[in-house]
Amino acid sequence: MSAAAPARAWVFGDNIDTDVLAPGHLMKLAPDDLARHCLEAVNPDFAPNVRPGDVLIAGRNFGLGSSREQAAVSLKRLGLKAVIARSFARIFFRNAINLGLPAFAYDADLPIADGDPIALDVPAGRLDIVNTGGVVALPALAPALTDILDAGGLMPLLERRLKAERSAT
């Protein structure tokens, strides 16, 4: 048994872009209001029903497109615990880590259907598929990136670094 509590898997396909994650014509909205439109063009049930701790599982090239951080912010505001995708677009991946949203690249098909219960232990990189009892070991992130995640994001890490510099001088 994994220590992590079971949550729902939200499964999406390949090439989920930043315009469906955070539509451009709604970018003036406050973050929580923008988040309500997250992915509505591909699955209108997602934003109203996603619950804190749920995990998004996607195909290839997740988050391609704009540098807009609101794409990752929306997922975080909706309470997603992590995103697991076969591959990530570079800027989205950096944004997610910088905001403290774990992003795992796992380049193989996961035997998980939309709505399946799963349990994810982020620090251990362990994904339990509840229905089948299957366990997946997710590839570890580079130490430079876990440092950012452990600090809660790049800004808390920067704050800590600046404080250390100040007290050193």
Binding site: N15, D17, T18, D19, V20, P23, G24, H25, M27, K28, E40, A41, V42, R60, N61, L64, G65, S66, S67, R68, E69, A72, S87, F88, A89, R90, I91, F92, R94, N95, N98, L99, A142, A144, G153, L154, M155, L158, E159, L162
Partner: protein
Amino acid sequence: MTANAEVTRGATRETGRGRTLAEKIIARAAGRPHATPGDIVTVAVDLAMAHDSSGPRRWRPHLEALGVGLWDPDKVVIVSDHYVPAVDAASAAILKDVRDFVRAYGVTRFFDMRGISHAVMPEHGLLRPGMLCAGGDSHSPHGGAFGCFIAGFGATDMTAIAVTGETWLTVPATRRVAWNGRFQDGVSAKDVMLFLAREIGAENHNLVIEYAGDTVAAMSMEERMTLCNMAAELGADTGIVEPDATTLAHIRAHGGAVDDAALDAWRSDADAAYHSAFAFDAAALAPQIAAPHFPGNSSSVADMNRVRIDQAYIGACVGAKYEDLAMAARVLEGRTVRDGVRLLIAPATTKVTEQAAKSGVLATLTQAGGILLPSGCGACAGMGHGLLAAGDVCISTTNRNFQGRMGHKDAFVYLGSPYSVASAAVAGEIVDPRAYLS
């Protein structure tokens, strides 16, 4: 592969031990003798650019909380281009905040409503070979045309760069994409990119695309910018072109200082270890059109014939430079836009408008029925004028046709070159622009 786009290609890993241009720039910025693909390195940033959407309004709360200023206000470029001109009180407030920020933090290079960031920077000679630049926008690779390494970053990364002047990079490997031969008349760099988005795909992750070959060497800087801009659509870290006499002449003509020695210093070694290499025949390339909702969903125009359109849009960093407007004018000279079709033109910068007014290109466009919009991201970002209703069909010179990007999620956006977009405006449907050149 379609019959009229025959190419030769092969992905081969060269065995050379030399370094590519991108690796040399990153090594220099990291203060290391070498930068090896896959390594994570910390680099010093020579120039950081941000715009009104991703920049000051995201940076300021963090700078205030941290009690710090910019690492070097002279190395920070701020451009207001996404919310310009203000269309409501909310966008007006965003723009006002940008102006306040620029004053409060001593930014010396501020371009307020002068055009789209990527097109504005080269107009001021700000990008030079060998620089390492960070842009708070995904199409920052545009500037790779100048032989610099310039990649896009999100707002939190840019905030950290604004404070410290550095960031981390996973050193990308380089994929060489060579084009040789002469384009047919009516074919341009935009067609190259819509072709590549299909043929080499949108997942060139952890790669720099180095454009090479005699077709690229013969290109103007603006056409090279189109190539590098859409490296974003290939999913690459950035695009780059080795500098040559054309590069140096453009920088100098726009007020930048650059030494001839840059040509020797900033090029890939003859025996550089590329990740892979492709070669394509420019003469065999037909005009390319991308169908909704993905740039790589492209094919030769022959396969796309007779798609009826409601709107033709000439805009964006990639598609409304001076030469783009001139291409459209070649089609629109002496013709008129089809009844029931709206042709909207948003020049990339105010200087482009000025140049097009002087040369007569602007009059050709408006006499044909084109409607002039302000310079800025406009409908490309889904923020300005010219958005689409459900069911609308648009052909656009922009770089992305993701669902919902230009307005309603049930609108349909096709992508094409300025020749293709102007021809469609005249015909009322997507047609082969080679039959419409004057």
